[in-house]
Amino acid sequence: MRKILVVLMLFLASPVFAGEELHMFNWNDYISEEVVADFEKRCNCKVVQDYYSGTEEMMAKLLAGASGYDLVIPTQNAVQALIQQGFLEKLDKSALTNLKNQDPGFLNRSYDPGNVYSLPYAYTTTLIGFNEQRLKEQGIEPASWALIFDPRILEKIKGKVTVMDDADELFGAALKYLGYSVNDVDEQHLREAQAVIIKAKPYWAAFNSSSYIKELTVGNIWVAHGYSSDMVQARNDALAAKRDFAVNFILPREGAVLALDNMVIPKTAKNKKLALQFIDFLMDGKNAAGLSNDVGAGNPNSAALPFINPELKKLTAIFPDQKVLATLETLEATNAKVRRLKNMLWTELKLK
C-alpha cells in the first residue's frame, strides 16, 4: 500500500508535459497539418487539438463548462450564440499584423458586427459528394437534392447513401428541397421536411457526419451529404489511393447551406497570447492557402488567393461566384424552443 502511494505521488509530481500548449477545438479534418507543424516549430509550442463533427456537439461541450480551449473554430450561428452568452474574449486587433489580408466581403457580418470577437477562418458549403462511375452505371445525373431525398432515384442506390447526423444540416437540406429557407422555423414546414426525410430514410445506409470521407474513398458509400471541404479531401484521397473510380461533388441547384467558420478565443482560455499569435499566423496568405489546398475549404483571405491551386479556385462549389452565392444561405442561431421542436422531430424520424 505504501509503495503504491509513493508511486502515485511520483506520478502526480512529475509534470505531464513541458513547454507551452495551445488547446484548439476544431472541426475534424479542418486544418492543414503542415501549417500546424510550421507554427509549432516557430513558436516552440504544441498545438493540442480536439475535434467535433457538429455545431450542436461543440456548443454542448463548451457550454457544459469545457473550459481551457484557447482557440475554437465555430460556425457563424454558433459565434452569435457564444457572443450573446458572453463566452468570448474581445480580439486584440493591434496584435494582428495580418488582419489586412482578410477579404472585406467576409468581415462585419451581422453575427459579429465589426468583428469584435471573431475573424473568418474558412467557409464551406453543405453539398452532395458522389462516386462518379457508380452513378453513371446507374444512369443517375446528380443535380438536385432529389439525389438524397427522392425515393425513385434512391431505389437504384439503396444502402449506398449517407446523410449528415446533424438535425440543422439535414432539415436545412430537406427545407431547401421543398423550396423553403434553411432557417424556416414554421412547425408545419418542419413537419413537411420531416416527412421528406422519413420517406427517404429506408434507402439510406446511415446518418454519418464524421467518416464519410473514408466511406466515399473506399467505395462503401456512393452518395454522401456533407461538407464541401470533406468532399475535396475524399476526391484527392481516392485519386492518391488509385481507386478504380473518382469522387466528385455537386452543389444542388435548389441551393444549400453556406457555413462561414471563424476563429474565436473563449474568455476561459489559458493561453490567449499564443492563441492570438496562431490566429495571426493563420491569416498569413501562404498559411491561409493551406486551408484550401490541403483541406479543400473556401478562403476568406485575399492574400491567400495567389497561392491556391487554380483548379480548385474554378470550382463554384468551393469558391461560389455571385450567381451561386445567391442560392446559398447561412444558418442562424436558434432559441431553446426551436431546438426542442427540432430535437423532438429528429428523435421521431430516427425511430420510424
Binding site: E56, K61, L63, Q85, A205, A336, N343, K350, L351
Partner: protein
C-alpha cells in the same frame, strides 16, 4: 499523504473503543458515495422539474420577483415524455434490443458454460481464461473489429454475397444494420452471461445426473429435468448482467446503427451532448434508472423464489 497517516492514527487510537470502529470504517466510503453517487442521482430528479437554460444547462430554479423568491419549476419535461408515444416506442425498441441480445447470449453462452463446467479441472481454468481474455481488451476495439468485418468491401461481406450469388440471392449489406448492432451487442456482452452461468453449473452435483442415467433417463431428459432447472439462478444472474448494460448502450448504435439503430442511451446522450436539453435528458435518465432497478429487483425475486443462489 499526511491526511492518510492522520486517518490511520485516529483509527489506531479508536480501535480500542468498539462503537467507533463502525463509523471510522464505513464513513469514508459512505460519504464519498453519498456525494458522488446518491447526490447526483437526486440532483437529476430535481433537474427533471426545471427549465432548460436558454443556451444550455439548467435555468435557475427560483425567480426574483418583487424582492421575493419564487420557485420556477415545471412538469413540462414529464408532460413531454408522456405527451407523445415517441418515447414509449423508443423505450420499447431499446428493451427489444436488450431482450434479443440477452436471449442470443443465453443460447450461445449456455453450451459454452456447460462445456467448461464439464471439462476436467486442468483445462477448465484455461477455457475460462479464454472467455475472459477478449473481455479485457477495450470494448471500442472490439466494436471496431466488427466494423472492419462488416465493411461492404470487406472479406466477410464479399464471401457472404458470393455465396448468396451462387444460390441466386441478392447481395446484402451488413454494416449499419440492426443485425450488425445485435451481433456486436452480443459479442461485447457474452462473457457477462458465460461467467455466472459457469459459476452455477460448476456447482452442480454430478451424482444426480448419474442417478438419473441409472434410472434410464436419456441425455435430453436428464438435461431438461435436472441441469436446466438447477441452472436457472445462473441464467437469471447472467441475464441481468447482460440486459442492463445493453439497455443503456449508446456507442454501438452510434457507430454501427444505421438509419434506425437508435436506443434510449443515444437520446439521453443527445440531450446532454448535442441538444443542450438537460431537464429532458434527466427525465429519460430517471426512466432508465427506474427500469434498471425494477429489473434487478425482479431478478433478485426470481432468484429467491427458486431458492437458488443467483
Amino acid at each position: 499523504m499526511p491526511a492518510i497517516w492522520c486517518w490511520i492514527n485516529t483509527m489506531r487510537k479508536t480501535m480500542q473503543g468498539k462503537a467507533w470502529h463502525k463509523y471510522l470504517l464505513s464513513l469514508p466510503p459512505m460519504v464519498y458515495l453519498l456525494i458522488f453517487f446518491a447526490a447526483p442521482t437526486l440532483i437529476m430528479l430535481f433537474a427533471s422539474f426545471r427549465y432548460a437554460g436558454e443556451y444550455g444547462g439548467l435555468a435557475p430554479w427560483y425567480l426574483h420577483e418583487e424582492g421575493r423568491l419564487t420557485l420556477d419549476l415545471t412538469l413540462e419535461n414529464w408532460q413531454r415524455l408522456l405527451g407523445t408515444d415517441i418515447y414509449l416506442r423508443l423505450f420499447l425498441k431499446s428493451v427489444g434490443y436488450a431482450v434479443m441480445t440477452t436471449l442470443i447470449c443465453m443460447v450461445m453462452g449456455y453450451p459454452l458454460a456447460l462445456t467448461i463446467a464439464r471439462s476436467d479441472r486442468k483445462s477448465r481454468d484455461l477455457l475460462l481464461l479464454l472467455v475472459i481474455l477478449p473481455f479485457w481488451s477495450n470494448f471500442l476495439v472490439r466494436i471496431y473489429a466488427w466494423m472492419i468485418i462488416f465493411s461492404p468491401v470487406g472479406a466477410l461481406t464479399r464471401m457472404l454475397n458470393g455465396l448468396l450469388d451462387l444460390v441466386g440471392g441478392g447481395p446484402v449489406t451488413l454494416m449499419y444494420s440492426p443485425t450488425a448492432m445485435i451481433i456486436c451487442l452480443v459479442y461485447v456482452h457474452l462473457p457477462f452471461m458465460v461467467l455466472p452461468l459457469y459459476a452455477n453449473l460448476e456447482k452442480h452435483d454430478l451424482d444426480l445426473l448419474d442417478a438419473a442415467q441409472d434410472l434410464g433417463a436419456g441425455k435430453w431428459r436428464r438435461f431438461w429435468l435436472i441441469t436446466w432447472p438447477l441452472s436457472l439462478p445462473g441464467i437469471t444472474a447472467g441475464s441481468i448482467l447482460v440486459f442492463i448494460p445493453v439497455l443503456g448502450m449508446f456507442a454501438i448504435p452510434d457507430l454501427l446503427g444505421g438509419t434506425n439503430g437508435i436506443m434510449i442511451g443515444n437520446v439521453i446522450k443527445q440531450q446532454f451532448m448535442e441538444s443542450r436539453d438537460w431537464p429532458f435528458g434527466s427525465v429519460l435518465s430517471i426512466v432508465l434508472t427506474v427500469t434498471a432497478v425494477a429489473v434487478v429487483l425482479l431478478g433478485a425475486r426470481l432468484g429467491q423464489g427458486r431458492g437458488g443462489r443467483g
